[in-house]
């Protein structure tokens, strides 16, 4: 059966539809206006990086306009609509007070779909409106409602205030698609009615000066091979600074774990670029900031480590065989306490003058480089630095044998990260298909090293907390036993990663693997 995509949403030239609009129906399809208006408060939600939008989903929180006394949000619903217009609806409940995590919602189809799209990212209100909705059923010759035309007069209330154009929306009824399509065609021809260019959400966003997908919190730059290296490096570093700063408010409010993660990524990349390409900048500049960014990076490490731990905690608890998941609770409690303390330090740091000076000074100094000229080209710089980082990773990895200490793998991991960042920072200079092929083996190696190193950190934390719990006698033996079992599982994972290492590194260091990375920069040298 052919699916006809017809626009079922329209905007009106005026504030209210003229009489002609209501007469737009045809014989046997009569619109009957005059229904009672009701006021609803709406909020459209997405993650900071627009995961729902990217997945073709729209999430709306809808509550009756008049505050329903105490209990407040009685009757509020969440409506998740897919590209095909099909919606999953769920009671909003107390957990759905934005911002919230999909995982906090009651179990059900809505949570499942939301969690699959949003993952661990919080759902934030991006636009809010108060809408006066009036429904006009469209009846067939039998007086049966076959579609509902809703007049939607909305006012944007957040992030700014603005009147929005009045809309007409055709709500099809199950089993009456053809009638809804006919009605849509009829309305499209009515005076003062235009097919809507975007959804109600997109219109609200546009009125607030935004558009879907306008912010990712990630750095993304376009370079050309011939531009001066200093200018290219400044562009990269500026975009990393933008990304870092974009993630600070969410980190401070602790909206979800990924703000801090993305902030860290931006800082780490900044440090990599400073290390690798600092020489392309005016003398002394890189040196001046290197220590400051190390401070910033170190400031973020403890909370992130604990976040990784807590995110993995459910799986860890579920994986226990001998102990019960609840036995591990005292351990989780300690993790939470530690995180709370670490967060206090992080927040103080991010609110400090030192941080404000760093960000402002760095932006000022980078802005001065935009017009830099002379010196090597961006292409030359990229090729040279990627080759250098590549050599270093091969050298470090080549010296690792079965007896090497964990520290050696950690060093290799850092070198691989640096190589990866350089490849990505200069990605716009490379052929995208070649780039994907080139990073494949590097990614697999990094993944293996990451698992090894995460396990190393986790084991250390487990031992430390076990020691404390034992020393202050605050946890039952069952907790220590459960932690012992969990440590066994982590150690087994670590051993597996260690066992995989030789093969992963061999792939990376194979003639083919080397050639693929070299091929990226060949043209530039």
């Amino acid at each position: 059966m052919a699916v006809r995509i017809a626009s079922r949403e329209f905007v009106l030239a005026g504030h209210a539809p003229g009489a002609g609009v209501w007469q737009a129906g045809e014989p046997g399809l009569r619109i009957t206006p005059g229904g009672r208006a009701r006021t609803v408060r709406r909020a459209w939600l997405d993650t900071f990086d627009w995961r729902l939008f990217r997945a073709g989903l729209t999430l709306e929180l809808r509550a009756p306009g008049r505050p329903a006394g105490r209990g407040g949000r009685a009757g509020a619903v969440l409506v998740l609509t897919g590209r095909d217009g099909r919606a999953v609806t769920g009671e909003a409940g107390p957990a759905a007070r934005p911002p919230f995590l999909a995982g906090a919602l009651p179990d059900g189809p809505l949570r499942a779909r939301l969690a699959a799209a949003a993952g661990v990212r919080a759902l934030l209100p991006l636009a809010e409106a108060t809408s006066v909705l009036t429904e006009a059923p469209a009846l067939n010759a039998d007086g049966k409602t076959v579609a509902v035309v809703t007049l939607d007069r909305s006012e944007l209330t957040a992030p700014s205030r603005a009147a929005l154009p009045a809309r007409l929306v055709i709500g099809p009824l199950r089993g009456y698609q053809a009638e809804a399509d006919r009605l849509a065609a009829a309305l499209a021809g009515a005076p003062g009615v235009e097919p809507a260019a975007g959804s109600a959400f997109e219109t609200a966003l546009a009125a607030a000066g935004r558009r879907p997908g306008d912010c990712s919190g990630r750095a993304d730059v376009r370079l050309s091979a011939g531009m001066p290296a200093a200018a290219a490096v400044a562009v990269i570093l500026l975009s990393l600074l933008d990304a870092a700063e974009a993630n600070v408010p969410g980190t401070l409010r602790d909206l979800d774990t990924e703000f801090l993660h993305d902030l860290r990524v931006a800082v780490r990349r900044t440090r990599s670029v400073l290390r690798a390409a600092g020489a392309a900048l005016p003398p002394g500049l890189a040196d001046r900031y290197r220590a400051e960014f190390k401070w910033l990076g170190d400031l973020t490490t403890p909370v992130r480590d604990l976040d990784v731990y807590l995110l993995g905690y459910p799986a860890m608890a579920a994986g226990l065989v001998a102990a019960a998941p609840a036995d591990l609770e005292p351990f989780r409690e300690r993790l939470r306490q530690r995180r709370a303390r670490a967060r206090g330090r992080l927040v103080r740091g991010l609110r400090s003058e030192r941080f404000a000076d760093l960000a402002a000074g760095w932006r000022r100094d980078l802005a001065g480089l935009a017009g830099a000229s002379g010196g090597p080209s961006a292409g030359e710089l990229a090729a040279g630095q990627i080759a250098r980082a590549h050599r270093r990773a091969l050298l470090l990895g080549g010296s690792i044998g079965p007896g090497s200490p964990p520290q050696a793998l950690h060093e290799l991991r850092k070198a691989c990260k640096e190589l990866r960042y350089l490849l990505e920072a200069f990605a716009s200079l490379h052929d995208p298909a070649r780039q994907r092929r080139a990073v494949r083996e590097l990614k697999a190696l990094q993944d293996c090293l990451g698992r090894f190193q995460d396990a190393e950190v986790q084991l250390a934390v487990l031992r430390e907390i076990a020691g404390q719990l034992h020393a202050d006698g605050s946890a039952p033996a069952a907790a220590l036993l459960a932690m012992g079992e969990a440590a066994g599982a982590v150690a087994a994972r670590q051993a597996a990663a260690r066992g995989e290492f030789a093969e992963r590194f061999a792939g990376f260091a194979s003639p083919g693997g080397r050639a693929r990375i070299r091929a990226l920069t060949r043209g530039a040298r």
């Binding site: 009671e91 059923p137 067939n140 039998d142 049966k144 409602t145 089993g175």
Partner: protein
Amino acid sequence: MKVLAAYAIKGGVGKTAAAVSLACLAAGDGMRVLLWDLDPQSAATFMFRVRPKVKGGGRALVAGRLPARDAIKATDFPGLDLLPADFTYRNLDLHLDGQAKPATRLRAVLRPLRPEYDLVVLDCPPGISLLSENVLRAADLLLVPVIPATLSVRTLDQLAGFIAGLGGRHPQLLSFWSMVDRRKLLHRQITAGPPEGHGDGMASTAIPALSAIERMFAERRPVTAAAPRGQAARCYQGLWREAQARLGLRPAEAGASGLSPGPAGRRSSPR
């Protein structure tokens, strides 16, 4: 998903009136409700102003060639959908008989709808047939109108015997006095207590003979929507509470004051 069937051996006793009313009330409680009009006379379908037509007819439905979900029509009442009647339903026994496991076909047709509906209401044609056996195998609760007349009470015995003879999975029985006219001495006498041997299965709510109920078929508008506070609606509300209790949807406590709204709150006005 619970299945409630309005069923009686006798015709014209108020099955359709009860099925339509209870389906509307359940949807008003916020339940997701499907009403399946199994009667080729299509009285319920007519009431909701839906065309009595199913693509491929009853045969396609019971043979599984037409998934039930593709034949469903929304009614004008939020939360209430209709699986319409079709004139070919008059041959439903024949079509059922041609299937493997002919007595549980109806159940099989409804099974895929489980995630979509909280309640299915079956409006059955009168009689005892293979279709009735299918209904008994599919239903959790049988709602049986009984007119206060000696003959009606006897068919109730017959029905109880039919159910008892089935063995295996069978529904609970909830009969109720239907079209009770308090001005008639015979009605007052007969409805003074439950019929002998049917004490547990008799609802304490009776549905009086009311012109508002009679009119709803002519006006094509369920009485629960036409006069939501009228006597008819209140009586059906009482019957619905008792049915809910039997279905395990609310605590069995006659006359409890707290109405329990369903998962999405109360919605009683039509679209």
